[in-house]
């Protein structure tokens, strides 16, 4: 059983088809990057897999649970950190985590332990009692990911987690994501080549709603005859090769 599976996912809006028959499968514990330029269909794909958008056609599965017919089960085993930092601004870091743990059904000691664990993993001890509104962009992103993780999801969706962050904050966040690797399945969308290169086990390239290529960096380089992800990506995006 795959952690994430998409079979012929299509998303059509009135005048546009955002995702065109997407097929992919992600192994348990894998960090899978969906790479593409703005408007490639990455966020729409994630939304469909998180039950945030109904596919026009096709089907998605999270750990064998259908995103169409088993939404309650899916929502219990996923965590999402949306593109914009979705935190409660007037609550402190700790209160945000307590809130999210409660929503995920944690109580008493389990809830307190989960909160402290997240504060420790994300090294938020110094800002734990600071209101979210006063955090920098990087810390807000960390909090957003911690909130997604606190429910101990089997699959974590990170939608453009480092968008708009400075290089130091980005590297810091990469470190956290790397530490999570293999303990949990992560689907990450990004349009930063170096991010996919640094973090992902496998990379999927999306262009205009279509999955053009999937593979490890070495496989994508071999496919395109190019060195480096950026060159391989450009070749795929312009050439339309598929693996």
């Amino acid at each position: 059983m795959f952690a994430v599976e998409a079979r012929g996912l299509v998303k059509k809006y009135k005048t546009k088809t955002a995702v065109k028959g997407l097929d992919l499968s992600v192994e348990e514990g894998e960090l899978f990057a969906l790479l593409g330029v703005n408007g490639a269909g990455k966020t729409t794909t994630i939304r469909m897999l998180c039950c945030l958008s109904t596919p026009t056609e096709g089907e998605g599965f999270i750990c064998g649970n259908s995103v169409l017919s088993q939404q309650d089960e899916v929502k219990r085993i996923i965590g999402i950190s949306p593109q914009d930092t979705a935190v409660a601004d007037k609550l402190t870091v700790r209160e945000n985590l307590i809130f999210m743990a409660g929503i995920q059904g944690f109580e008493g000691e389990k809830k307190a332990d989960a909160v402290e664990k997240m504060i420790k993993i994300f090294k938020m001890q110094d800002c734990a009692d600071q209101k979210a509104a006063s955090l920098s962009g990087g810390w807000k992103r960390k909090l957003s990911i911690a909130m997604a993780l606190i429910g101990e999801p089997k699959v974590l969706f990170l939608d453009e987690p480092t968008l708009g962050l400075d290089v130091l904050a980005r590297r810091e966040l990469w470190k956290v994501i790397k530490e999570l690797k293999s303990r949990i399945t992560i689907i990450l969308t990004t349009h930063y080549m170096e991010e996919a290169e640094a973090l992902a086990d496998r990379i999927a390239v999306m262009v205009n709603g279509e999955l053009k290529a999937v593979g490890t960096l070495a496989e994508l380089e071999a496919l395109t005859g190019q060195t480096g992800l950026e060159n391989a990506f450009v070749a795929i995006a312009e050439g339309g090769d598929e693996v």
Binding site: C50, C51, L52, S53, T54, D72, K75, R76, I78, G79, I80, S81, P82, Q83, D84, T85, A86, V87, A88, D89, K90, L91, E95, F99, G102, I103, Q104, G105, K131, S144, M147, A148, G151
Partner: protein, 255 residues
């Protein structure tokens, strides 16, 4: 229900940590109470309108305060909808009823607290000015419960349908309408005519009328019971509509 309680707790904290909620929900109505009492005290007995006597004014002040609960409910909902916060929450096991109750409960708690503060202040003002407030002031709570729910329903509707900028705008229109036509700052029955007819078409009028009657200890059908029935009907309608709209909007967001 557990998730609604947790979500409501978060909404309550966010509302209580906004200084503007204190200024508008408590400060402004209380300042108006003091100003109107000073005006009332400055007018020779029998020369001015009865509406500014503390016994009558209290009902208006309470209903005026509730209009700001509507405003802050709408801001809360519109703010959540405007950002990614609700997107995150939609991906959790929360149901639409959890969201709706989660928005209603904290606003209702604030409305009740606001009413308590207004009544205590009115009693103090009454003692200082030798006013006409008696123990029946406590009966003011009876019509305030459906009135608060009605205003919260309006706030939820505005926050669901409009943006973070649009929702407060439309609520300000409602606040002005309530002030002018709801019998808060003047008694439409003393003017009669078109003014009274238009006022009677507004639910606010019945909130103030039933509260004013309850505080005065007048529980007659015309003064208290009939307006109370209208307020209850409006509250039920507003909450049902708000719930349906929120569910529809949520479904559309997830389409």
């Amino acid at each position: 229900m557990k998730r609604a309680k947790i979500f409501g707790g978060r909404c309550l904290k966010e509302m209580l940590r906004d200084p503007l909620s204190y200024i508008f929900c408590l400060g402004f109505p209380l300042i108006m109470m003091v100003i109107m009492t000073i005006i009332d005290q400055s007018i020779p007995e029998g020369k001015g309108p009865d509406i500014f006597h503390i016994g009558n004014l209290t009902a208006g002040i309470i209903v005026f305060g509730l209009t700001f609960t509507m405003l802050f409910t709408s801001i809360n909902v519109a703010h959540d909808r405007g950002g990614s916060f609700l997107v995150r929450m939609y991906a959790t096991p929360m149901k639409s009823t959890d969201f709706i109750l989660g928005y209603i409960i904290p606003s209702f708690i604030i409305a009740v607290a606001q009413t308590v503060v207004s009544i205590v202040s009115a009693v103090i003002v009454s003692l200082i000015t030798d006013g006409d407030i008696g123990i029946s002031v406590l009966a003011g709570f009876i019509p305030i419960i459906p009135s608060a729910l009605m205003f919260i329903g309006f706030g939820l509707i505005a926050g669901t349908l409009l943006s973070e900028k649009g929702a407060p705008g439309i609520c300000s229109v409602f606040i002005s309408l309530a002030g002018m036509l709801g019998g808060i700052w003047f008694d439409p029955e003393s003017t009669g005519g078109v003014m009274l007819t238009v006022s009677k078409c507004m639910p606010f009028y019945y909130c103030t009328k039933s509260t004013r009657a309850a505080i005065a200890g007048d529980f007659s059908f015309d003064a208290f019971l009939l307006p109370l029935i209208v307020v209850i009907a409006c509250a039920v309608a507003a909450l049902i509509l708000a719930g349906k709209l929120f569910k529809t909007k949520m479904k559309a967001d997830l389409a």
